[in-house]
């Protein structure tokens, strides 16, 4: 008997505005369809029509709740290429440190969510307990746990002061000592192996054809990593190698288990990169142009187009920016978040699996729908309740409760 199970916009397995509707017969999935049109927020439209470039950095930063350094990083890289803005050396190093800090916190967050999808809540609590260390470091360095607000065209807005360095070093030591234990808890647990080994396999050929990016494609053995392939920021100094599962487990299967392996390896790699960055951090000022109005002016009179590519925690993140002189704001701005390509990889992964595998396979690509959906254009003719009414209703309810 066939039915369709909607793993939909509101589902405990996938708290993301996307809907996977699987037609199942018995327990086996026979067809997978992805419907992504649940919550498009108009980020590009805002960037092109409403905001000037400085404000667009903060819109880009809020494309994704977790990986919020990668989007402004790409945007700034593209704009700097067009306006040929010089970026001081120290700023390039700070950008590398920030993107690696973000990768650690994003991967550890994902590891906890994956454990929760498997029903292993104590591993979720454990992973998020050790993640607090990187969150405290981020709070000390950036002043805020998640939204860093540190990117500016031509450099960074805040420096890594001398009193921050011992805290970061302490975090590095903490994670290097802990890697063995975390790897043991995740990779040598029999029930996790039973649930993730040979589940959601993405063959190397599918991974390349469907253009998956980031840990999803590296788990299938393809050595694709933007930090290793293209030279941007200070990455040429770090000789970054793409992490594939055979480094730890010796062979490549391309299943959910390998994606856990790749992400844990990347956390270790990021910690080592930060350590090297701190050792070789050049001195000097951190932004090439202090006065913001001058930056706005140079952007306004520049012309041209460029792409910014950066290795976000979930994969390759690319922005295409086109500037036209005299136009206030970005003339054309296209954001492509990493999950955008990885969704296509769901189809071959989920085929002929059981319902129990949907949450963990869907979570294995670390979907971040807020990156992928980006525009809301409200049509107010037949919407009865608007956000305003809902807000007022909630105020009355809170007042009532406070009596």
């Amino acid at each position: 008997m066939k039915y369709t199970i909607p793993i939909g916009p509101i589902h405990p397995a996938l708290k993301e505005p996307i809907m996977i509707s699987c037609t199942i017969s018995g327990e086996e999935i026979t067809d997978v369809d992805v419907i992504a049109s649940q919550n498009h927020r108009g980020i590009e439209w805002i960037g092109m029509n409403r905001n000037n470039p400085i404000q667009t950095i903060y819109v880009a930063e809020r494309i994704c709740g977790i990986c919020n350094f990668c989007h402004p990083a790409c945007l700034a890289m593209a704009v700097e290429e067009i306006t040929d803005m010089e970026v001081p050396e120290r700023a390039q190093y700070i950008r590398v440190v920030q993107s690696e800090l973000e990768r650690i916190h994003s991967h550890l967050l994902w590891a906890g969510v994956a454990a929760h999808e498997l029903g292993f809540d104590s591993l979720l609590h454990y992973t998020w307990k050790i993640r607090e260390k990187v969150m405290d470091t981020l709070e000390i360095v950036n002043g805020n746990r998640v939204t860093k607000a540190i990117m500016m065209y031509g450099g960074v807005r805040r420096d890594i002061k001398d009193e921050h360095v011992p805290k970061i070093r302490e975090m590095i030591k903490y994670y290097l000592d802990l890697f063995g234990e975390v790897a043991k808890l995740f990779l040598e647990d029999k029930t996790i192996k039973m649930r993730t080994r040979d589940i959601g396999i993405l063959t190397r050929e599918d991974a390349i054809k469907l253009e998956a990016t980031g840990p999803t494609v590296r788990a299938s053995g393809v050595k694709k990593d933007v930090r290793q392939d293209t030279s941007y920021y200070a990455y040429p100094d770090f000789d970054v190698k793409a992490m594939t599962p055979d480094i730890l487990t010796g062979d490549v299967v391309g299943d959910t288990y390998d994606r856990i392996v790749v992400r844990l390896l990347e956390v270790k790699q990021s910690v080592e990169i930060i350590e090297q960055a701190l050792d070789e951090m050049p001195s000097g000022e951190i932004i090439s142009e202090e006065k913001i109005p001058k930056i706005l002016a140079t952007i306004k009179k520049s012309d041209g187009e460029a792409i910014g590519r950066h290795e976000a925690p979930r994969g390759e993140d690319i922005h295409y920016v086109k500037l036209k002189s005299g136009f206030d704001g970005l003339y054309t701005w296209k954001v492509r978040a990493p999950t955008y390509n990885n969704i296509l990889a769901w189809m071959p992964m989920l085929m002929h699996h059981q319902i129990a595998d949907i949450p963990i396979v869907a979570a294995s690509i670390d979907p971040c729908m807020s990156c992928t959906n980006r525009a809301v254009v409200l049509d107010d003719n037949e919407r009865i309740i608007t956000a305003e009414d809902l807000h007022n209703l909630s105020i009355e309810k809170t007042k009532e409760m406070m009596k």
């Binding site: 369709t4 397995a13 029903g119 292993f120 609590h125 307990k129 039973m194 649930r195």
Partner: protein
């Protein structure tokens, strides 16, 4: 005469019911508190389950329109009632159970299936695809854990019939003649294996992780109980508490029916209290090792793995225990004390 028995049974049942509800919920609170501390969290206060039930009773009871409403509302009542009747046959703290008689051990085995069956009926009646999948899974889980459960209990009963004559299939008989006393060294090993099998069967019956595929929260959004709310969900919640208490006391009645009051030689009331507290401690220990520790330490399995674990691994363990028991009495009775 019949009036008096009738009066004793009715009042006894009501007493047992409140007693079971109170203890079931407080054990649930202890379980959540210890699980929380194991995960280095503080966890809710011990009286949290009482608040949860109170809150659920206040919430309104929504019946989905494409559900079979009379079955939908009947299922929780049957589940709670059968869990409480289970307790009538189980000796509490070594004292005579309210109803006992010939063969109540087999009756308990069947009474165990009624709560699970009523959840399945409730799942099918609620008409949502998640609940239907959950109900299918609950049936498959029931089939898989019935086999080792039956093997374990029957082998214990068989061992008793080998040593004693008389009405061995009643629980009070088993708990008054502790099984460990009359088995050889091999028998002890067999009994440990059977105890282990029973300990691993418990999480499946109480649908706790790793075998809670029927109510898997992250896969099918709560499975069977997805459409339940308000009073109905409160009844299922209470039934789960009572079942935990009933099953752990069943394991205690079969394997650890010892009392410690005779060591202190006090009067009747204090020794009763000591016995009762020792009984509660035994319940806590069994629950700690069978439910709390397992549900915190492992991930949830897939339905196909649940069946293969029970039919292959746990049944083999129980059968090996039975073989050792048979070997012990037939061939080498090596006295170990």
């Amino acid at each position: 005469m019949t009036g008096e028995i009738f009066f004793r049974v009715v009042m006894g049942t009501i007493g047992i019911a409140f007693f079971a509800l109170f203890l079931g919920l407080s054990y649930k609170g202890i379980d959540r508190k210890i699980a929380a501390h194991m995960q280095s969290r503080i966890g809710p206060p011990l009286r949290q389950p009482f608040w949860d039930v109170g809150k659920l009773l206040v919430k309104d009871n929504v019946v989905p329109e494409n559900a079979v409403s009379w079955l939908f509302n009947l299922a929780p009542v049957v589940c709670l009632a059968s869990s409480i009747t289970l307790l009538l046959y189980i000796p509490i703290a070594g004292y005579e159970p309210l109803l006992h008689g010939h063969g109540d051990l087999i009756l308990i085995l069947y009474l165990l299936t009624i709560p699970a069956l009523s959840m399945v009926v409730g799942g099918f009646a609620s008409g949502s695809p998640y609940a239907t999948v959950g109900a299918q899974r609950e049936m498959v889980t029931m089939i898989s854990y019935e086999f080792p459960l039956a093997v374990a209990i029957i082998s214990v009963a068989w061992k008793m019939s080998d040593a004693f004559k008389g009405d061995i299939f009643t629980l009070s008989f088993i708990s008054s003649h502790p099984i460990w006393g009359n088995v050889g060294l091999l028998g002890v090993a067999g009994l440990i294996l059977i105890l282990l099998a029973l300990i691993i069967v418990l999480p499946a019956e109480l649908s706790k992780i790793p075998f809670d595929v029927a109510e898997a929260e992250t896969e099918i959004a709560g499975g069977l109980l997805v459409e339940y709310s308000g009073r109905n969900l409160a009844m299922f919640y209470l039934a789960d508490g009572v079942k935990t208490f009933a099953l752990t006391s069943l394991v205690v009645a079969i394997f650890f029916p010892y009392g410690i009051s005779q060591f202190f030689g006090l009067g009747s009331i204090p020794s009763f209290i000591i016995d009762f507290l020792f009984f509660l401690l035994k319940i806590f220990l069994v629950m700690l090792f069978s439910v709390t520790l397992i549900r915190v330490g492992v991930a949830r399995l897939r339905i196909s793995q649940v069946v293969s674990t029970y039919w292959v691994a746990i049944t083999l363990m129980a059968l090996l225990g039975l073989v050792l028991l048979m070997w012990d009495s037939q061939v080498l009775t090596v006295r170990w004390w």
